[in-house]
């Protein structure tokens, strides 16, 4: 959804700050599962499209029928390597698929094909910006390719669970961070950063509601100064950044309570319940897992050479950090504005299209895009790509502000009309006679009429009641039907009202 994807973080920090300032240091690592934006599955030629009828996109390979075999999707490999390049990460020149063995009805083969000892992406890092504007580098432990499982539907039938395997075999990149995060806010900033990156390089659509981008948080507390990590819990099932923050904050408070009452935190998986805003233990009986990982004998090691890596590096788009820096330097935008505009590629591309021919100033373009356009997108629950007003249409409107044809106020009304599909800025200006009045003679005669009609106020103003200037501006603007150039109007009024 648009609000999750494009609006800046407005994270409250009070709860975290409390825990931080107490006896405990918070340690968080995230595991993010990004669904790769391939057309077909990671090991089969079935479609990955979302929302199909149950099991209509589960082919023989996805169902794990007797005799079927996996064949790796080239595109999934390309995307993983692009991610490595975007996070300054090591690339596994020889990576190996392994089987993770466990029984669950949504796991058709009784094992998940994943990577264990030799992942395709090794150590890397990303930079996040903290609340106070400080930058912090967050380490990536690894990222590996794996297949997704299917879905269990528990509410469809009375005493049975239904299994839909459409999602089984969808390619995932599991991105594991170091335990470098120290608050819920940092965790969210990191998750947003990864979210922006994967969308930027076009390897994941980032749709959290559809499960394309899923975060699990490993949370633990330890006494300040303590070296070893405390016992962690893994919080799963968080499908928005807001919930991620809430879930971590809840978990921090819960663990602090447990520790302060002298008890020990139990290592377990906990589920975030958004309705109750709490986490709860996922398994009543803690069962020790023994996944019996071993190299998948159906797949050979994936080998990646320099030539391939360099060809992908050459095709990589300008990344958000580099782009933001360019915006600060070339467009004189603030850190904050540059950060928002570059947080996703579509926004940055839109922005650059508006300012491209130099007729619209970057500041004006930023204000209108981040303000008016985003507000309307959020209201209508649209993505920027689906905006009824595209970059060139917005530029057409903003040019008319820059050349004083219309006022900002008129422009806002025009944007609404353009949004409703009523025409371009110029057409609407023409048809509505909305051209701003800048002719001094015309403005003077309007002002003269206002002065004549309000002798009492004129006397008061001239006696020193400066505040009344606004009264005259309002009257004159109304007389112009809002079309007077405000700056000019102000100036002329001041002159005419001089005692």
């Amino acid at each position: 959804m648009a609000s999750e994807n494009s609006s800046p973080s407005s994270t409250g920090t009070s709860a975290t700050a409390n825990a931080q300032s107490g006896a405990w240091e918070v340690v968080i690592g995230l595991e993010i599962h990004a669904q790769l934006a391939t057309s077909s599955k990671i090991f089969s030629a079935a479609s990955t499209a979302f929302g199909a009828e149950p099991n209509t996109q589960a082919c023989a390979v996805d169902l794990g029928l007797p005799g079927v075999l996996p064949v790796l999707n080239r595109e999934a490999v390309r995307m993983a390597v692009c991610f490595a390049l975007a996070t300054d990460a090591e690339i596994g020149r020889r990576s190996v698929f392994a089987r993770k063995n466990y029984f669950y009805p949504d796991l058709p083969k009784g094992y998940q094909i994943s990577q264990m000892a030799l992942p395709i992406v090794g150590r890397g890092k990303v930079e996040i910006v903290l609340e106070d504007g400080q930058k912090k580098s967050i380490g990536l432990t690894r990222a590996h390719l794996e297949e997704d499982a299917g879905k269990s539907l528990h509410d469809e039938f009375n005493d049975m669970t239904g299994i839909d395997l459409n999602r089984a075999g969808t390619p995932l990149l599991e991105i594991v961070s170091e335990p470098d995060l120290r608050s819920a806010a940092e965790a969210v900033a990191y998750a947003r950063k990864i979210h922006a990156l994967v969308r930027y390089i076009g390897i994941c659509d980032g749709n959290m509601q559809e499960g394309s981008f899923r975060c699990d948080a490993n949370v633990s507390l330890r006494r300040w100064g303590q070296q070893e990590l405390g016992t962690r819990t893994e919080v799963k099932n968080v499908n928005s950044f807001r919930f991620l923050e809430r879930a971590i904050e809840f978990e921090i408070e819960r663990q602090a309570d447990v520790l302060e009452s002298g008890q020990a935190v139990i290592q377990e998986t906990r589920l975030y319940d958004a309705d109750r805003d709490e986490t709860r233990s996922m398994r009543s009986k803690e069962e020790a897992n023994d996944y019996r990982y071993f190299p998948d004998p159906d797949l050979l090691p994936v080998e990646i050479d320099d030539e391939y890596i360099e060809s992908l590096r050459a095709g990589l788009p300008e990344l958000p950090d580099a782009r933001a820096q360019r915006y600060r330097e070339d467009y004189a935008l603030s850190d904050y504005d540059a950060g928002v505009l570059t947080s996703d590629r579509a926004t940055a591309d839109y922005f650059e299209a508006v300012v491209t021919d130099g007729r619209v100033s970057p500041k004006l373009a930023n204000n209108w895009l981040a303000g008016e356009v985003f507000a309307r997108l959020n209201r209508d629950n649209l993505e920027l790509a689906d905006s009824p007003v595209d970059a060139s249409a917005l530029a057409g409107l903003l040019i008319r502000i820059e050349d004083n044809t219309i006022s900002g106020k008129i422009a806002k009304q025009l944007l609404d009309d353009m949004w409703a599909g009523k025409g371009s800025a110029d057409d609407l200006i023409e048809a509505g006679g909305l051209r701003q009045i800048t002719d001094t003679g015309a403005l003077e005669s309007m002002i003269d009429a206002v002065i004549e009609e309000n002798p009492g106020q004129v006397a008061e103003y001239r006696a020193g009641k400066d505040k009344l200037l606004g009264f005259f501006v309002g009257k004159a603007m109304k007389a112009s039907q809002g079309k007077a150039n405000p700056a000019q109007l102000n100036e002329l009024l001041r002159q005419k009202l001089k005692p």
């Binding site: 009828e53 996109q57 064949v71 790796l72 999934a76 528990h154 190299p295 004998p297 050979l300």
Partner: protein, 95 residues
Amino acid sequence: MSLTPEEVEKIAHLARLGVDDAELAEYAGELSKVLGLVELMNAAETEGIEPMAHPGHASNRLRDDLVTESDKRELLQQAAPAVEKGLFLVPKVIE
């Protein structure tokens, strides 16, 4: 290494194999014998030897990202023990 029936029970659980008590004892005996055979490997000097997962040294072949499978649900579910509304049915899973 000789296995006890209790150990066999743990392995059988991991493998989700229903095995009754009488069988557990038999398996314990048989598996212990097999492990005895297998452990002849221990005499081999394997320091510095690369583990061999596949014959040959080929690297993995990749397929193009093309959707060539169409919906064959009806055909593929003919072998299924329980299906309703296109879903495979299992006893209720409690999360």
